[in-house]
Each structure stands twice: as C-alpha cells, then as structure tokens.
C-alpha cells in the first residue's frame, strides 16, 4: 500500500470509532464555551445584598453555645430573614439557634425553608414547589441530605436547595446548569455520576482522538496539490 492510501485508510478506520464522540466533544464544547460559566453557576439568581451589621447587644454569648450544642466544633453568627442566628456544627450534627433566645430552630419546616429561599431569590417568580428530599438527586449528588428543594417560577426552572439544619442556601440549580451537566457527561464520557474524568473509556478515546487528528494531519500532506503546469513542448 502506498503512503497516501495508508494514511487515508488509517484515518478512516480510526474515525469510524471516534467520529460520533468527536461530534459530542465539539458540540458540548460549543455549549460550555458559548454560555458563560457565571450564568451556569446561577450567580444572578441570588440577591447580591451586603449583609447588615449585627447588633450584638442582648445576644446569647458564644460561651453558652457549648451548653446548647454539646461537642461544639464551630459556630457562626449570621443573619437569616433579618434575624440574628447561630449556625452550629457539633457532635450531633449541624443545628440552627435563635441568637436572641438560644432556642433551637432546626430542623426547619417547609414554610421556613421556602421563606429563606424566597428572601435570597433575586427574581420575582413565586415558589412553585417545596419538597423534602431524602435521597440526593444527581444535580446535588455531593451534598448532604435530607434537604429542602425549593423550585421557583421563572426561566430555566430556578431551584434552591436549603439545608433544614442550618437554614443556609446549599446549592442553586437551573436548566442551563442541568444542560451543562449533561454535556459535561458527554464530554468526559462518565455516564454514571458525571464526575470521574479518569475513567477508562475517556482515556482510550482521547488517545484514539490523538491518533485520528495525527493521521488527519498526515493525510493533509497529500491532499493539496499545485495545479499541474502544462509544460511547453520543447521546441
């Protein structure tokens, strides 16, 4: 077999294996580059308000927290719905306390979770549904459960996840993020949990792609010809 024929044949056979994945790689690449990552992260879904200074007078002193939550690991004095609260990490897990009375507020019910989500939501849409999720859906697979899932009316189905134990916004999702996650799965070829960038399939296919691109370049050497000049007959 001559070199051009060999180049063509290798490129062709490699492409037969890689072609569909190459289309997936490039189309998912188009989506991931064209839609800005800040939009994907949903930055604009959360109200950007500077937290107000906390009036300390009359609040439960941190020294008292060890009694409220045995095995105290850390505590954060924060503002939720305009009220000072302590978010506490302790041996018994995370918990939320009213910073003025020391009363335990967690676990939060549906109304309390939805109220916190609504207060943080930057758009006008109303709450469509509030669900208590005990098994983490794929879109928050790395986050702890149980968790409140609060979905809003609005473009791309914005959804906030609120921890029932801390009252904090744990995650925000919308359809553009969900699409990104799907094309990311296609890009890294991890069809299980869309996280493992080192799976065997991607390792094999990336090198096949290297070979396809390489043989393509090789084939290019034979693909461009100067137009044959007509030699003048020597007189």
């Amino acid at each position: 077999m001559r070199w051009p024929a060999l180049a063509r044949s290798t490129h062709k056979w490699l492409a037969l294996i890689v072609a569909i994945q190459a289309v997936f790689w490039t189309l998912s690449g188009v989506y991931m580059t064209a839609v800005h990552i800040d939009i994907i992260h949903g930055d604009r879904l959360v109200k950007a308000v500077a937290p107000p200074p906390i009036a300390m007078a009359g609040l439960v002193e941190p020294a008292h927290l060890a009694h409220l939550a045995p095995g105290l690991k850390s505590a954060t004095l924060d503002t939720q719905l305009g009220q000072p609260v302590y978010v506490v990490q302790a041996e018994g897990g995370p918990a939320l306390f009213d910073a003025r009375t020391g009363q335990k507020m967690s676990p939060l019910n549906a109304e309390q979770a939805a109220a916190r989500a609504k207060a943080l939501f930057a758009e006008d849409g109303a709450v469509v549904s509030t669900q208590y999720v005990t098994k983490a859906p794929l879109e928050i697979q790395t986050r702890p459960v149980p968790i409140w899932r609060v979905e809003f009316e609005g473009a791309w189905k914005p959804t906030f996840y609120i921890s029932p134990f801390t009252g904090e916004l744990v995650s925000r999702r919308h359809d553009l993020w969900r699409t990104f996650d799907f094309v990311w799965m296609l890009h890294i070829m991890d069809y299980d949990d869309r996280q493992d960038v080192n799976n065997l399939l991607i390792r094999v296919f990336t090198w096949l792609a290297v070979a396809t691109a390489g043989t393509g370049g090789w084939l290019l050497l034979y693909s461009f010809r100067r137009k044959r000049r007509v030699r003048k007959a020597v007189a």
């Binding site: 800005h36 941190p62 020294a63 690991k73 954060t76 799976n199 792609a209 290297v210 461009f224």
Partner: protein, 252 residues
C-alpha cells in the same frame, strides 16, 4: 468538475482540517493528558489533613469584646478552632479580623504563623523550603482570596500550601501534578495568559469550527467505506451461505 454535496463536504473537511488541525490535535493531546492525571492527585487531596478537633475553651471572650477588637461593626462572626487555639473570624466592612477567642487579642497572620499553620495541616513530614507573601493573583492562587502566604515544602511533589493572610485558613495546595495538569488545561481552554476563562471569543469561534470539522468527518464516513474495505468480513460469510445453498439444492 462537479461540486456535488459530498465533494463540497470533503473539500470543506480538508480546509477546516488544515486551519484547525493543530488545535484539534492539541485539544486531543491535552484532553488525553488530563484524563491520565489522577484528579485526586491534581487536587492534592491527600496533602491536606482535616482540621484537628479541639475542645471548646472554658473562657470565651464576649461578643462586645470581639467587636471592639475587630474595630468596627461585624456582619458575620465565626467561632472555630484554628490549629492550637479557638479563634473568632470577624467579617467587617474593612475585611476579616482574626481574634483569639480566649485572650481577645488580634492574631496577625505573618510569615511564621502561616508556616506553622501550613505545617500543621500538611500530611507529609517534608521540611519547609520557603514562605512567600502573595498579594497579586498568580497561576497557583488565581481562584483564591488574597492576600495569602505560599508555603513551599520539599516533598517529592513540590507541594505548596497556600494560607490566607486574613483568616489563617488553608486555601489549597498545588503540586507538580497540578502544574502539569494546568499546562494541559491552558492548551485545552486556549487562555494562555490567566488559564481561567473558557468563554472567550477565540475558543467559541474555534469550537463552532471544530464542531463542523467533526460533523463533516462523520458525514464523510458514510461515503468512505466500500465493499472492498469489509471484504474480510463479508467474503467468508457469503462463502458460507453459498455453500449451504448448494448443499440444500443437492439434498433437495
């Protein structure tokens, strides 16, 4: 010469290949490198130990004292262990202040403190090579809140532990695996300066072009295979059915 659709696609595939070829190869190679490098290693997950638990001290300074030491209204206040003591991390309008929860004194994170905190969280026993102050984003610290201290260790991976100059928290660790990965990442996202953005016009344009290169290649495949390409499969099958047929005719 007739410009049939297939001929046009072949012509376009060739020219797109000529223009994009090198970048396509770089995407493949950098992708292959990133797929090979274990992402746990890249993230230096094993380099950083979890925060050591410390029982809460008996005497914790009252809130009023913390606000006074922080020097302004506090919008968020965290109480937590930091290596060998409990601290308050007070967020004020002019930045984060670190206050000793037992004594009420301000804790400045200078080079030697940063070094102490980095050594405490680093999983290896390797000695410290250098401690440098980082005020402006570098490739290693581009995603971190600065200023910070960069504590370089002499382990085989050349790990650098980055410690916040404001909070004393370990912000992350960078090793040689990450540095290699980061070169592949740069080539992959074509942001050669900051290695951060994959949403710039150059890559968006080339991504569209590459999509056409791949798609035209896929279309061409349908015309690229002839019977002679798969004769090694088809010939034996046909021979077999032929044989059966004759056998049947002879039997009938």
């Amino acid at each position: 010469m007739t410009w049939s659709p297939m001929f046009l696609i072949r012509w376009l595939h060739k020219w797109f290949g000529l223009v994009l070829g090198l970048q396509f190869l770089l995407w493949s190679v950098s992708g292959a490198v990133m797929a090979l490098l274990d992402h746990h290693k890249v993230a230096a997950e094993d380099a950083i130990l979890p925060v050591a638990q410390l029982p809460a001290p008996a005497g914790i300074q009252p809130l009023a004292r913390v606000v006074e030491t922080a020097g302004g209204p506090v919008t968020r206040l965290q109480l937590k262990p930091l290596y060998d003591r409990w601290v308050y991390e007070a967020t004020t309008a002019s930045g984060v202040r670190l206050v000793d929860a037992a004594s009420g004194a301000l804790i400045p994170i200078d080079g030697s403190k940063a070094r102490e905190l980095a050594v405490a969280r680093f999983s290896s026993q390797a000695p410290v090579v250098s401690v440098t102050h980082v005020a402006k984003p570098t490739l290693e610290t581009r995603d971190m809140t600065l200023p910070a201290w960069r504590v370089q260790f002499a382990d085989p991976d050349n790990t650098a532990v980055i410690v916040s100059a404001a909070t004393g928290e370990v912000l992350g660790a960078k090793n040689d695996t990450w540095r290699l990965w980061d070169i592949a990442w740069m080539l992959h996202i074509m942001d050669y300066k900051e290695r951060q953005s994959f949403n710039h016009p150059l890559i968006i344009t080339l991504a569209f072009a590459a999509a056409w290169l791949a798609l035209s290649g896929l279309i061409l495949l349908f015309r690229s295979f002839r019977r002679s390409d798969v004769a090694w499969v088809l010939d034996p099958i046909e021979k077999m059915t032929e044989k059966r047929k004759t056998a049947r005719v002879e039997a009938g």
